[in-house]
Symmetry: C2
Subunit: 144 residues, 2 copies
Amino acid sequence: MKLKFEELLTELKVKKIRLSHQRLKVLEYLVHNQCHPTVEQIYNGLHKEVPTLSKTTVYNTLNTLTEAGLVRVITIEDNETRYDINTGNHGHFKCEICKNIFDFNIDIDSFDSGELKNFEIKDKNVYFKGVCSKCLSNTKTNHC
Amino acid sequence: MKLKFEELLTELKVKKIRLSHQRLKVLEYLVHNQCHPTVEQIYNGLHKEVPTLSKTTVYNTLNTLTEAGLVRVITIEDNETRYDINTGNHGHFKCEICKNIFDFNIDIDSFDSGELKNFEIKDKNVYFKGVCSKCLSNTKTNHC
DNA sequence: TTATTAATTTGTAATCATTACAAGTTGATA
DNA sequence: TATCAACTTGTAATGATTACAAATTAATAA
């Protein structure tokens, strides 16, 4: 965790992005909360610690970090944008009952279909939806 | 095309969804325009032919058809929901220059990772972003 | 350490997609 | 052809995101 945060700071400096207090706090929140939070969740989570924080700043910061490639946008549902500090190769599963988003390993690069051979692919996303194992067993219990 | 439309009608009847004039027109539009249109595009495209059509009806219809499984929602970008009458197994590539969305073949079922073995997967989506071949060659030309 | 300045933050207002709602209309059934 | 629940419609409400301008601050150099 600590390591990850230091690496992110270095990347910000390299890319000449100012290390403002708000940006560091948002980054820290994302490193500590890798549950793919929404803007609302980030804002609420930081509000006690940084009372002057504005929601606009959270939006601005996330856009800046996304453009810099430090953060990945997750748009599984059209009404809620989520953010992920883990920019590595992995898929997302959203449970329609508990609404949680789970990471799963997937080698997205393995299916670089020949159809797109003259296309420049910058970003690959795999999103699954359904019901997670925990909610599945709860549903079964309720039926008895 | 004709065949596809007839099949869709049969499915609507089976699922006891009324074959209203507006629903048939939206379905027809989707069958004829498989370019993953937005609500705005569908509404504008049908407005001449069906002047009384309301945008709310387009939303309602698309939600009904999606729940019935006749239409697939595409949410690559968080600010625009798109709709696809092709519910078969395929991926989507969005060009960030021309904004077009391209279909490509992909066997999504082939990577049913063991991590999700106790999950019920209802929907699988693969979204790529980047620059399409046409826009890539245009960019090159402009540099000369 | 301090001054300088451009970048950043902040709060409010604006925008845009989508949904809620209630009154009018219509498709399917008998 | 009558009936009625389902559907459509227009307007208003909602909610996420962005625009904007004034106040603040991080980074640089003296």
